[in-house]
Amino acid sequence: MINVSTRMTKSLLAIHGCSAVFLGLLLYTVILTGTLAVFEHELGVWANPPSQAGEAPLPSGIGARMKTLAASVDPAYLDEVGVFPSSDGRLMAFFHTHVEAEQGREAVEEGTLILLEPASLEELDRVTGSADEVFRHFGNNALSNFLLDLHIRLLLPGQWGLWATGLLGFAMLVASVSGFVIHRHLIKDIFTLRRRRADVLAARDAHVIAGSWSLPFAFVLAFTGAFFSFGGAIGLPMLAAIAFGGDVETALEVLQPEVGEDSSPAPLADLDLILVSAAERTGGEPQNMFVNHWGRADALVTVRMSAEEGGLLPGAVLYKGATGEFFKTQPNLGNEPSFGGDLAGLMSPLHFGNFAGTPSKIVWFALGFASAYVALTGMVLWTRRRESEPGWDKLARATAWLGYGLPASLAAVAAGYFLLIDGVSGLGYSLLYVFLGGLLATALLSFGARSAEAANRLLLRLTGGIMLLLPLLRWLAAEGPGWGMALSSGLSWVFVMDLCFILGALACLRYKRPHSSPEEINIERTDEDKTVAERVADAA
């Protein structure tokens, strides 16, 4: 039990409440989409699978294939070459160069992006242009990209989105710390959950219990999230400006390995052998590969590896491109192992939960789900407390709208994707329109319903209904593989995701709110049962 004065509790409760009411619904949006984004790759494969799964992130023979592709693109784009799996399990090869920027504008990457089947390495399509254009060109990743845009930037343009989500991460940090301090009996109450009660206590218990069990992780997710948004948007440019005196050259030198410049032509060594060697050397699995100065004597090959068994930090192995000889291993950040590099490197596995494949993703998904539940029940609790006050019905309906309308709209986006997608061609802004349409429709439903409670039920059923349709739409409208075909092509995620959506839909459709019986409402409440708000009111 944490002993704090009534005054302090009052202030903390106000902070906790304000961070929740003003930002709660947006925070819930970011947490819910983040939870789904844990399975970004699996959702990508499910939505638009390749015809056959690849044997590894970088399948054997990719090196030789890259050489034939390199011969087919503009030689200027051999400056920097990368090959990496895209969200849907296909491979992307990006041949590009940095175009000098005009005065006052940022330098842009320009090149040719080629989409490959992961098993046969057959070319599916290619497009040339700026990095922004080419990555938006293909529609195969549109669903995962939409989800990530909503999570990282709330669909806002440029830095605005990062500022917004940074602020939300900070609000979550503040809410988790203040929530921890104002909850007096964290350990004592950790197993106590009253459900058949219509009063504030049941809502409070639902919020507090989920909050208690997900507290350490909510803190970690909020901290790392704030780090990514604020760190990228303001922290890094500012610190780099101070540390290197605005000297971009020095900053880049520190981060990049030193290789003597030599622009004389030299053929590239066998990339497949380099991949085999990198795997043997580290015990990890190659995740992606980058070649700088392809075809020159100073070519450098970087192979990024998965973290070793039981480890958290991925690393990279560097090879000299012209000779194929091992150059050095490189830590996550910087040229030499360092405390700061490791610390910054830890942020990403801790936030994404992708450090150990499916087991860690399942756990992180559950933690995200619990955090979303905490955000939503917190809003519900706040509105319940003020049920008698005028105007709060609107907030209760708004909570119902985003709480259940957001999952419904996201499910509608997936349905829209299946109805609109044609192979790997782009979708432009259509998913955004579907999403906004979904939000508008669910808003009309929530504010038009008999009560906030009725709106909750209606929207939950709607979410379930759309989710139940998804496997069918995937199969019929988008001409995706059936279960037998998916399983025999190594695309088991297609089957698993279908199953998850069906089970999720059934849960939504069958969900019943626990009803309270009159005798239970009249149970005498001890002082210990009082909510923080009631205690503060008593003291005042």
């Binding site: 902070i15 503040v174 101070i242 520190v254 360092s338 405390f339 700061g340 590099g341």
Partner: protein, 75 residues
Amino acid sequence: MGGLAVVIAPGPAMINNVAVPLVLFPGAWGVLFFYACLDQKLLRAYGVVAGLTLLNGGLIAWHFAQTADVLQAAA
């Protein structure tokens, strides 16, 4: 926060001075936020935050002045 980039040694990879304050920054702002909200004396809270801002600004200015000296000496 900017001042930390000056105070923390760059370390062998030359990035500790950037990476460490970058990671600490949500925490640093969080502590300041709670402090500012909970301090009973508003003036004192203003004072502490202003003092820290000045201290950071001073450290950065001192760092830039030193760098300028080194550059002048080299020229």
